[in-house]
Symmetry: C2
Subunit: 329 residues, 2 copies
Amino acid sequence: MRVRETELVEKIHRVLGRRHETSREVRLGMGDDAALFRAREGQEIILTCDWFLEGTHFLRDKHRPLSVGWKCLARAVSDIAAMGGVPRCFLLSLALPVSHTGRWLDEFLTGLRRASRKFRCPLAGGDTTRRNEVLISVTVAGDAPADSAMLRSGARPGELVYVSGRLGEADLGLQLLKRSKTAAKSANPLIRKHLYPEPRLALGQWLAQKRLATAMMDISDGLSSDLPRLCAAGGVGAWLESARIPQAGDGDIARKYGLDPLELALHGGDDYELLFTVPPHKAKVLPKSFRGVMLTPVGRITKGPNVVVGEENGRERPLVAGGWDPFQR
Amino acid sequence: MRVRETELVEKIHRVLGRRHETSREVRLGMGDDAALFRAREGQEIILTCDWFLEGTHFLRDKHRPLSVGWKCLARAVSDIAAMGGVPRCFLLSLALPVSHTGRWLDEFLTGLRRASRKFRCPLAGGDTTRRNEVLISVTVAGDAPADSAMLRSGARPGELVYVSGRLGEADLGLQLLKRSKTAAKSANPLIRKHLYPEPRLALGQWLAQKRLATAMMDISDGLSSDLPRLCAAGGVGAWLESARIPQAGDGDIARKYGLDPLELALHGGDDYELLFTVPPHKAKVLPKSFRGVMLTPVGRITKGPNVVVGEENGRERPLVAGGWDPFQR
């Protein structure tokens, strides 16, 4: 099977929007040397990029191309959500084996198109090449009103630490997926969260616009990896109350499979929930959920630099990063 | 040897600028979920991304990390030059074997820093992971005054086709490099052009600002691949006069090594020269060179759709893409 790079690019165009198809911001999409993007007045541009690599971030036999297409964009869009921004367009760097330029590519592009429409984030350009494994790098450009983007560094001692949703769900979904014999089981909501994560765009924008949060980031590598990063950025510490961390299925499902739900909630990656800090007087008015997504206070910012976990038995232990670190595997 | 992802990111910060180090446009660099970039008023943002993969775009034993660092950014910046834009910041997606996190990374970052300073294009963010081979994807954000970015699609019949510099130099440099036993021979200007290409930023900006060109792109895959793309984008054809194409060392060096200089000039990749079209009345006032870079008319735009080469013996043949196509190797 032979294919030209031009044909591949044409196929991507066909599925993800024709050449020169534009949104309000994107004046020129794929088909030129670069994309053209016009920022709305008074907006700041947000730029982020994310790897999504076969064997590292997904497995050929466990992850359908539909999920690969969705998730590679969802991951990067989650970084825009974490800043309180609105995604505007994305660039796709795609390397494929020739064997993947037929059905695999079709299904991948279908998943990518679904995510692109869901997040209102059109394709604006990219680069393709051949490779013996599937390599993906996605860049997303978004925007936010000038000086309103939420940084990691704004947390101050005494503020409350919040998380959205439940933690460890995606990791539990991955464990269930690994135990299943087929790649299809996406009816299970935990597996679905692992395969088709939904970045918390509306929540992030609301927290930023209402100036409810002082610092924010998304939980992509696990709370035990990401909370210390938020603390380090602000020069603060944190005290985490383990009993308060909302677990997947309140812990029952994990225990059924012989897994520790607290460990999953602390160290599990890929949840793409938001981690944010709220001053006490604003926490009083913060609702318990936003558009169906739980908002839970799980601890408090301290003078630092230590990040500790308070256990149910009253003991404290340092929070040790046990989340995703590709160099520690 | 063990290394944490955090340490790796810290090293990149150290070499390429500290956290929150800013230029006029970049408000927030590495260390948060995403970078913040403020466009100057009336400017359009230009976005581009480029793969640079070990085994595909460079070879472990032939390309020093200094060159890998320089070239991965130069390639992407060349797309900004091709639009007549100014580079403003870049994102680095880097995947590395653990064995490459020491000296290799240091030298790579040195090359990247040199390019970053030369092109005035600071690092604004990125993503790192582990991999058994070196994988790089670079995204560059640039800008240009609204509606002044040069597209590929503007060529009209009767206009002259120009190229900057000499074509086939980088490919000839690669051939010389492959024949050399060490990875060091960058004193040779042809090998240097292959290892340390210089995007034609000043030329691209000048052509766009003075509105001298009607269509423009960079020659990255070779003239025989790129000219048909420019023609297809504008719905035109072209007639190329082979005798006029400026060759590396006027052809003598290629012949000395038993290579055909015209073939190199037509199909050789990696030159990063500019290909542009100029209306006849503007061609009359176009200088023969700009800041030491030759500007040569090599043919004419026709009604199309055919792209043909006129040979020295008076015969004509269709221009068949013989340049870089990863899916045709």
